[in-house]
Symmetry: C3
């Protein structure tokens, strides 16, 4: 594996792009969009979070500069179309849910890495990690004219907040970027999978209220 | 009061952040969101307008750099949760409507200040003041999957346009930044409260039409 | 015509601003918005794509700096209000459909020109051309709380992708900017008008599927 020579940003970025393009395209296939719409929703899901991240830290989005990024996104779109041919309902298949959790962890981590390089505050690291991880899915939902599932699904965005906070804590305590990245990814994917498996929920304000 | 030593940007920014986080969280509480969703909608309402403003003038959003900003936003979220415990329908309580008018005036003014520093045109001052003031609420409505109320509510965004135009006029006529800020805030909050109190409306194109 | 002295960016930008402000305002009139809402939807349709383009390539949006841009946008809004007085259903009148196709071609081209100046990849040129051309209409639809028609309408965004790809190809093959701009505009407007006239569609993934 030679972890020392591998750039954690490049690896996680590639994983996240393929996974999120796959997840986004699968949703568009369920909605019976045409192939152009499938590609657009997949690429938006894969790239909108990272583009927002780059705009927030004042740089031209990586996706507009590197042809490799687009090739990875299109690979995810192609996988989704292939999966829809062989699977009955690809959009809630365990493979899709797992891809989504892995993409979430990968993008939380790459967002935290970029934010740390841009010297923002601890909150900034958590916010950019979260925007990077959930921004693409949220924009895809807005394009599909539905309330972003990140606001309805308990413990989805919460996992990225936990992951980003862990990254910031690890870096603050003096850990190296690679170690912080590994911990962040593990916390995000671990809490997300546990949340799905055990059906974790967050209380509403109504629960706190002293109702009659 | 020592108006001369107080930075109008810092004061109005703090007022706007607390007021808009309170208003946004109150809406999310009405929709029975969980505590995470309440915090997200409150922080989006408080920060999205300012983040858009900063991106438009090419700087990293203040909210990602300053921990004080986040503390103020979270204070507004906390106030909303506390209010929902003691009030029956906090989201249309006069205190919430008044907070919203005050936040609108504060953010129109801070937007106009930042725009003036960035040397944009007169229209740019009005546009950035408006985006700063209504952008957070509009994005919160989009996240809640409803048409932004700013387009449906007569004399909401109109008040910020009037306020921003007043700021630009005052600065063009040679007034100091502090005086322009005070006039802008007074015009915005005054027209907004008057619009609510007297039910002002703007005519539609159908009214102009020579219908049979 | 003196094509050599005319700046293709300035001409196409002016055409696109008037055409898209007209198209956007016409939609808002159909929705019975008030005059303020009509102006907002028209200006959003005209300016949001270009503002996103400018933010992506790290510059302050032109619309915030140049008063001429706003005058052109307001001219389009005024034309829409005037048209609504004399026409029964201005929003699907052939003049509106033609304005839309022309605006689409003009903005695809200006987006490709800005992208080329910013030295992004070939995909970046196509992406920024597309965002410039369809971003305003998509945001207007989101504000009107409906799924962006660009995802539902076959061969709308596809035309801008074809146009942007043609621009990139022409520039790559050594053509001058003016020639590439003319070809890009012609391909975009031509495919769009042909798509409307002949009812072209793109297949869905369901068509590819080996269904029983």
């Amino acid at each position: 594996m030679q972890a020392a020579v591998v750039d954690p940003f490049a690896v996680m970025n590639a994983i996240g792009l393929v996974a999120f393009a796959l997840v986004g395209s699968t949703k568009a296939i369920r909605e019976e969009f045409d192939l152009f719409g499938i590609a657009v929703v997949g690429l938006v899901t894969a790239f909108a979070g990272g583009a927002t991240r780059d705009v927030l830290v004042n740089r031209i989005p990586l996706a507009l500069q590197s042809p490799i990024e687009i090739a990875l996104g299109l690979a995810g779109v192609g996988l989704a179309v292939a999966a829809s041919v062989v699977l009955e309902s690809a959009d809630d298949h365990p493979v899709t849910l797992f891809s989504d959790a892995v993409g979430l962890a990968a993008f939380t981590t790459t967002g935290a890495i970029v934010a740390t390089e841009a010297s923002v505050s601890g909150f900034g690291i958590v916010a950019i990690g979260t925007i990077n991880a959930v921004g693409g899915g949220a924009l895809a939902d807005i394009l599909l004219d539905r309330s972003p599932f990140i606001l309805l699904e308990d413990f989805y965005a919460s996992c990225t907040v936990l992951g980003g906070a862990t990254y910031w804590l690890a870096v603050s305590l003096g850990s190296s970027g690679s170690v912080a990245a590994a911990i962040c990814a593990a916390v995000t994917v671990g809490t997300r999978i546990a949340a799905v498996a055990y059906g974790w929920t967050v209380p509403t304000a109504q629960v706190l209220r002293t109702s009659p």
